[in-house]
């Protein structure tokens, strides 16, 4: 680790992503610090996954990415050619995905797929790369790692495949690991194991972890910092304890009301729900995208809403930080 924890590793300013007429992300800001877990939360379709893909330069061909700034360790990613970017990917920044069942190539062994990324970026012999792969599979709590190297993906369970993906992402000692809902496709018990593993690896290796999730329970356990996304915008961003202790944006408050907290929520008390669905946003949309579902909506919500920041805690809403009242419209 060249720099201490707490310096910015990834800076995203005014990121815009569109697919044809659909504006998937509309001006997202994000700063990820070295050695920290930064969770990006939001409903399906809020743009969190495409944000992760855009950071890595992995958007589908019909996706258009624009930004005022997209920098990794001070290096402007927007100016890099595809081949320059590919030298960073897998080496200093790595990514794991939502679909462990299909993310490994069925035609090659685990060992060959893991060795390949190491030899691409670090060189060395196949034997050295396989030794490192074995070591990392062990770190990712895969049983009998030497034997796994010779196995094919179809011989492994979903949980094991995700461990292999994680181990493979760590082959070159990346500074940033982007994890896009890494546990969504797994059994609940396996989910917990994988999250525990990611937490331990993040701490032990001093990784900056960008964790995309829709699960606030995961956020509460793992995050140092949280960004809440809604309809292609970051609506609130704060250190985890501030976000949970003092949520400000009506959407964040609504989301938190949907989560049962043992001891705080009575058994017969109905859980909160946010009525309506995330709107499909076109290019000309203006104002707050949440206003149709918001209990606090006002006429000026239809105009561009400024970002309000108080230290490290910021949000995009016209309301003052200490507003009271229902977060969302009753269903």
């Amino acid at each position: 680790m060249s720099a201490a924890r707490g310096t910015a590793l990834l800076e995203v300013r005014n990121l815009r992503i569109s697919f044809g007429s659909l504006a998937a992300v509309r001006g997202a800001d994000l700063t990820i610090y070295r050695g920290e877990t930064h969770c990006v939360v939001g409903e399906s379709g809020c743009g969190k996954s495409v944000t992760a893909l855009a950071v890595m330069g992995l958007l589908a061909r019909n996706g258009v990415r624009e930004a005022d700034r997209l920098a990794f360790d001070g290096q402007d990613l927007l100016r890099l050619s595809e081949s320059q970017l590919s030298r960073l990917r897998g080496d200093r920044m790595a990514m794991i995905f939502q679909e462990p069942m299909t993310s490994l190539n069925p035609a090659y062994t685990v060992g060959s797929q893991m060795a390949e990324v190491y030899r691409r970026h670090r060189g060395g012999t196949r034997a050295e790369a396989l030794d490192r792969a074995e070591d990392l599979l062990g770190k990712c709590r895969v049983t009998s790692p030497r034997m796994r190297l010779g196995q094919y993906p179809h011989q492994l369970s979903g949980g094991l495949r995700q461990r292999v993906m994680i181990a493979m992402a760590l082959m070159c000692d990346p500074e940033l690991l982007v994890a896009d809902e890494p546990t969504t496709a797994l059994d609940v018990t396996v989910q917990a194991q994988i999250l525990r593993l990611l937490m331990d690896l993040q701490r032990d290796l001093g990784l900056a972890l960008m964790l995309i999730t829709h699960d606030l329970g995961v956020v509460a356990r793992m995050a140092h910092r949280v960004s809440v996304m809604y309809a292609g915008e970051v609506v609130e961003s704060a250190p985890a304890e501030q976000l949970f202790g003092d949520p400000t944006h009506p959407y964040t408050r609504g989301l938190l009301a949907c989560v049962p907290v043992p001891g705080k929520v009575r058994r017969d008390q109905p859980l909160g729900a946010i009525p309506g669905v995330v709107p499909r946003i076109g290019h000309r949309f203006e104002g707050c995208a949440f206003r149709d579902r918001c209990g606090q909506a006002r006429p000026d919500c239809a105009r561009t809403v400024a970002w309000q920041a108080n230290g490290e805690h910021g949000y995009r809403c016209v309301l003052p930080p200490d507003w009271t009242g229902p977060a969302s419209l009753a269903a």
Partner: protein, 305 residues
Amino acid sequence: MLSFLFRRTALAVLVAVTVLTFAFVLTRLAGDLAIVIAGPEARAEDVEAIRRAYGLDRPVVIQFFDWAWRAATGDFGESFFFRERVSTLIWQRLPVTLTLGVVGIGIALVVAIPLGIIAALRENTWIDRAVGLVAMVGQALPSFWLALLLMLFFGLQLGWLPISGTGSWEHYVMPGIVLSFSAIPALMRLTRAGMIDAMSSDYIRTARAKGLSRSSIVLKHALRNAAMPVVSISAVQLGFMLGGSIVIETVFALHGIGFLAWESISKNDFPTVQAVVLLFAVIYIVLTLIADVANAVLDPRLRAS
């Protein structure tokens, strides 16, 4: 892998035995062989003599096992028309047809796979459409016409290549090109479809996330998975080329198996017809077996099931 090989080989033998039976039964259905051999002006006792001489007076089942046993040992009897051992005829002509088929499929693969990859990587651009158009035109060209065009241009106009015979490797260039045209469109389209599918898969996204080079992503990760249907169809196409090159063998005066098949059928030369049918069947069976094994090598999932 071993049990896979064993099962596939057993299946292949079973298919070969079935084809052997059909080849025999079908020729018997065509009429009384003795009359055919004796010719239209033969007397009854001549036909009877021929029937005895060829063993046609025995029960059909005995005839079948006798023929099958001999066939299994490579003895197909004597040709009625050529007055030669059928096995000799086949051994003389097989190299011509095999060479032609291998040259044809070789040219087809060398042209179709790169074109298919390029079309897939440039999906829905003018390059993709241009490649598709060329393939369609290629498919629409009658092979005898293309053969004549090539002969006129490269053979007569430019004098670069011989237009008939089997003397040297140059004799196989034009027939090989013509033959390859029948296989290129299908192989190209399969490669394109397989590559489009593979390139949009999750494991290719992983390969990109690993920062692998473009060539490694396309050739190592995508093509390997796109290759399986191409391998299967190549085997079928090669079978077509070996069995169905009659037109091309005739136009270029190549005396191969296709030509022999045509001659023997038109002359009612049953021993030769039976042998050639069996040979084509065995070629198909062997090619399918090779394709299955090649696919098992490409895809580890097939080895297990």
